[in-house]
Point group: D2
Chain length 353, copies 4
């Protein structure tokens, strides 16, 4: 019985539509969210509604993309590690060929390194087409590591992963050097929409964002993070689209900014570490295929285009939920009233059913 | 169609059994993991096997538990904020009564605060019985905040949540002040089991843990974290047991330690921020009820006991996967071989099916 | 020759006067700054001038004070560590007596702990009178540690300092749990002073503070810090008053906040980790004694009052320099023009001399 | 009187000699330390003695050097920021010329950027000859910024410094991208020297380093740091050699590693952020000139060579003090006994004098 495969049926709904534009795609689409926390649906739904009332909707700009894996080698001493690092930099073309020989889609686009004591951490950066690229990057790094161990003197195997990648851990390196898609979303909300749909003002949102997201997280000892709940939307979206949802750990590190532009609200979420793909593990499940297809992310396109489309839709979804929650928190008691009302509704539904 | 509720069927398996002892419970049990990453199952399974070969299995010690929510108030100035903070500390008994009046299960067990400029962040700490306690803590904090705004002079509403809680963000405060269950797991693996089951040595594990988990994460700019992949096991376990899986963000912050004790391996995972419950959102789903029941976490017990039992089983599961992956990474190429073999097996199965 | 003691003559000037009020003292005073970076003097001087033009000057509120040292003990296992921690908490009165027996001034005011694997970090918190208290805390902790090792079963010596204190390292714990004096300074600058003395506007300062101090530091991967250059003022003040200037490491972690209040500028610097004293190492040097005396910090007062006075003056000095630099950076080119002008002046002086 | 310049006479001693080798220089030299904390001298002295008993002494490998300044510009929107960033990357040669036109010594060697919302942080990296380069980098960045504002469409002035540099703040970026000299020091201490001079064992040092420096700092919420007291040695050395000692803030972020090699001790300190120079502010003072000369850092050499020599001597000095303190802390009570003895000696000296 232990070995039988079952499924954990996480409740899922489509909410929206939301409107996205920007340098990747222009689209109006519903979005699927799988979650045990049902208040997430109306919350994102309200943000989506706001996006439909803004002329360009959510403008999502993809500013970078790469998948990384860091290997760890031990050198005889620091000088040898230093020499090895310079050798690696000088042989980047050779390393590109090693990657091409072992993968159709992975392309080596950068190498960074750091030395501590006699240890050398080498961080390989790849483009990985439509895959999020965990396995592709690991496979390529394995080939690169074997190649280095054979050809660079004075070094020996440390680890195929040195935690300098960094996968599923909250660190500073991913934002600074890049890992996953880096998407900036922006939404200009007209004053009347702020008032009627969000029941608040631009000034209140700006103040709350400063005090809660920037200052509060800082005081809590946060690292490269200033947002209310990116993790919630990412989890729901990742589960619904077959992503490795453990990547919400670094995905949750991002920045919300808000400006009061004469009563209109400029609202922006920057997500530097969006790890998403449209092919690979989890993508073959029927409901995932259906969801990706409905999102328009299974079309015939240049490799990478489907994944980029998915990334900006994910980022726009995050903005919707972030905006809605912040708006609610500007008003004393609103959050609790919403929760209580929702629970009551569920009650009713259950009673009725 | 948008409003119809569907489910995202995340593949789930039970693996094990694993053996747990310690100050909460002694049990041998399989554990359920829901994930799109199928290599997780055999990986945790190997760790579970190791736990069965150690006399006491995984010794899990629960050292703390509390759920928190921080409210934010604006004071006229810093002096007023300071006076308010002292007033709050002096009125702790009164605040306890406020909480008791609004909740059957929540109990106020501590208050901390921090002042920046004229802003006062007040972090309430609660015990919440068998619930993870997000909503209970928010509800109680809402009542506390209203009470404070009515009775403490010179302060006004800032936010029901000031990000000083901290929920679903990677920060330092949760580990330092406590949030969720804090569980330390320890396993003493006999030398021959290290060699035959884990195909490595204690010395190799110790060295890898130092270089990868402690040093590598540090260089990556991590915060209060030194582990290989706590997030993976937590995600799988959280989804399978109806938890709010976005809490893997802080859950992933924890520490792996290893010692070479004359060839035997002392291996320990400390998880300071385990947010789990056996009642509340997500727990009413049929498969979740079934899973919690099979884990023995739906028995008639003193409130809190079921949740603590779930916490130590979750922590033990994390140790199993952590140990297995580290062991694999001590050997060049093993990780890739395992992945490739697994993919081939899936292929076979699919072909066969 | 190696053993001869010489002096490093760091250039020192008094700048000011600045005006301070608040819950510790009300005073107008010049402040001494020793530095190799001469632009610091006019920069702080400008801020001081602003403080004199505000009615209450800089309002400095001391909200906490304590000195800490963490010891590290190894326990047989986590359960033993947990039991030891609870024992320690239960015996707080006994531990207070241990401290009283070894020190006239140190008083144990709190104990916190954290467990990882089988290791127990115990963080002792002391009041230390007018001393910054490094040595007093270490001496008392040494006595406490010996006492614990004698009386608590199952633990053995790990280290007299476990880096969980934390001294001269940038961490989150000092701000969250408290170490040194925690001083909040506030200054309300009238609009015309903002314009004429600072040559900027409140709105510009607010915007720059948000983007540079809060967001920029966040993106850089800072930890509990949002300011432009607290470290500069602290270094100058610490050297001039005989402090252990290595404590600028944690002292530099603090938060600048700004608000545009109808054109007036509300400006605040929160310094949670000010480590200062008026007695102890370095305080016996002639120029230090003279400086402390001139600052009014060598008067006959209740123990602790002189040190608190010194702390709020230090914090006010930090605000002056912080405000001045931010104002300069709101204007393109102003910083460089000031530097170049200053260098030219020095040239002239040198030529003239 | 306010404007008169005096000096703060910080007590200074030369300790040593210590032995350094490696890729920059091979030398035996005393080192000057200015400090109010007199125990620092014998502590560093003991480490220096150990270095003389190791064949190659302290092997110091300089692995990187650069000085940085980040400017901040506001773009119309994120897309414009993104376009601007790509434009800047494409025009690197043009920017190099801009720098050459305004500085004889500064050379632009790299540019990195990050976008958040509509804000663009551009981090310029320079080589700066023998200067630490703060002012040179600021001057060059000012010219670069003006050039960009004139030639790149859609952007406007944000700040000459965006805290993404990062100067005198503890962040992750400096270690990851490089700032200052990055020096790795290594020392192999024979077993008998460990026992007789350091009165400990390699195993004890290894264990303490793991538990205190790596784990303890991690639990305290440290960022990219694992050492006992780098800040103390850096402060003393910086003051004695005319450096901007506020740079100990980032200088204190570094990593100590130790290995037990069959009883011999491999000990290493990695200092990624050493900001030092032999020309510039503070270097014209008589005692500084004398000290730099005695250290051999004022010789006729290729520009940059003197500063690199100073950097490796500084790093070696740090290792000496770090090793000595850790050794002391392996033994219960030794630290306090040393302090008490030292105080007693001072007493005697004073009585005698």
């Amino acid at each position: 019985m232990t070995n039988a495969q079952m499924t954990a049926g996480v409740p899922m709904k489509w909410v929206g539509p939301l409107r996205v534009s920007g340098n990747v795609t222009t689209v109006e689409t519903d979005v699927p969210l799988a979650t045990y926390e049902s208040p997430l649906w109306p919350s994102v739904g309200r943000g989506a509604k706001v996006s439909m009332l803004a002329e360009d909707g959510i403008v999502a700009t993809l500013v970078d993309e790469r998948m990384t894996r860091s290997v760890l080698v031990e050198a005889v001493d620091a000088q040898t590690a230093h020499t090895a690092a310079r050798t690696i930099e000088a042989r980047i073309d050779e390393l590109r060929d090693v990657v091409r020989a072992c993968s159709r889609f992975a392309e080596l686009i950068g190498v960074r390194h750091e030395i501590a004591a006699n240890l050398l951490f080498v961080r390989f950066e790849f483009s990985t087409g439509d895959a999020s690229g965990h396995n592709m990057a690991t496979l390529a790094s394995d080939a690169l590591l074997q190649h280095l161990l054979r050809t660079v003197p004075g070094i020996s195997y440390g680890s195929i992963s040195g935690n300098y990648c960094t996968d599923k851990k909250a660190t500073a390196i991913n934002g600074i050097l890049g890992r996953g898609k880096n998407v900036v979303t922006e939404l200009l909300v007209p004053r009347d929409v702020v008032e009627t749909v969000l029941r608040t003002t631009a000034a209140k949102i700006v103040e709350l964002n400063l005090r809660k997201n920037l200052l509060g997280t800082l005081l809590a000892g946060g690292i490269r993070s200033a947002n209310a709940h990116f993790a919630n939307m990412l989890l729901g979206f990742y589960l619904a689209t077959g992503q490795d949802a453990a990547n919400i750990v670094e995905g949750s590190q991002g920045v919300t900014m808000a400006e009061d532009r004469d009563g209109d609200l400029y609202f922006s979420c920057t997500l530097p570490n969006l790890i998403v793909g449209t092919v690979g593990n989890g993508k073959g499940l029927d409901f995932v295929e259906a969801n990706l297809t409905r999102l328009g992310c299974r079309a015939e396109r240049v490799p990478g285009e489907n994944a980029r489309r998915l990334a900006v839709i994910a980022a726009a979804t995050v903005l919707c939920g972030e905006l809605s929650l912040l708006a609610a928190q500007t008003n004393p008691g609103e959050l609790m009233r919403a929760h209580v009302q929702l629970e009551r509704d569920k009650q009713t539904v259950k009673v009725g059913a």
